[in-house]
Symmetry: C2
């Protein structure tokens, strides 16, 4: 392999400093760890919290709806539901009218767990916002990327 085919280290540093994908991954991993830790006493992760929260609606949403809300792959969602279903936090029921559709609903246990998780979220969220100059601006930027 000739030298022509490799990248100088200076270029590596430039990519490393600027790559939005890497910056977003690092921030996402760091935030996930922080929230995971906060929710640990309840035995759920940050992702499971977001998912349970997305299911807390008057009308049980469909799989596709939830995937869209979380900007998550549909098949990832199917997999993520498994442990929650096993723990009886979520029930999956066929739709009344459309037999293709499955409705995702919190159980009473799930709702109760979510209620206990909320104050933990508040605390952690406040701690994270404190790291930012303008959390609303950051949220707007993040939204622009998805």
């Amino acid at each position: 392999m000739s030298t022509r085919e490799s990248i100088p280290h200076s270029e590596t540093l430039r990519v490393h400093d600027r790559c939005l994908c890497l910056h977003a991954q690092r921030a996402a991993r760091a935030l996930a760890r922080r929230f995971d830790e906060a929710f640990r006493p309840l035995g759920i992760t940050s992702g499971q919290f977001s998912l349970l929260m997305a299911l807390n609606r008057p009308e049980p949403p469909r799989v596709g709806d939830v995937a869209a809300v979380l900007a998550m792959d549909r098949t990832t969602l199917t997999a993520s539901l498994k442990p929650l279903e096993r723990r009886r936090l979520v029930v999956i029921r066929p739709d009344r009218d459309d037999k293709r559709v499955r409705r995702l609903a919190l159980t009473a246990t799930g709702r109760s767990l979510l209620a206990r998780a909320l104050p933990l979220w508040e605390r952690t969220q406040a701690a994270c916002e404190a790291l930012l100059g303008d959390a609303d601006r950051t949220r707007a930027d993040l939204r622009a990327l998805d």
Copy 2:
């Protein structure tokens, strides 16, 4: 279960709109998908690109160094190296002085692949920056979170 134990839907909406963890996860997933797609012709993912780039240094870094740079769990890194090692893009060698330490180095093939990936990164990065008003500000915000 009593009603006292559940969260009103309005509260759910507030959490959903404000949660930094969810916003970061969504943005990270969206960016990863975008870069994954760009790198697909080369058979690597966005995460593998970042990892290979992190190894492109004059002195082969140690496992712990790379994990710190990527803000990634050390054991995640060990797992992520496996497919790259299998494809002979990376070699893992014991350190000369400290027998606990393993040095991670790109192979000639790895360096060459990275060089071919760089223009794809440039294009995708530019497209993502175009979504933001001020990419430097966004990067600074993301850095504040990790």
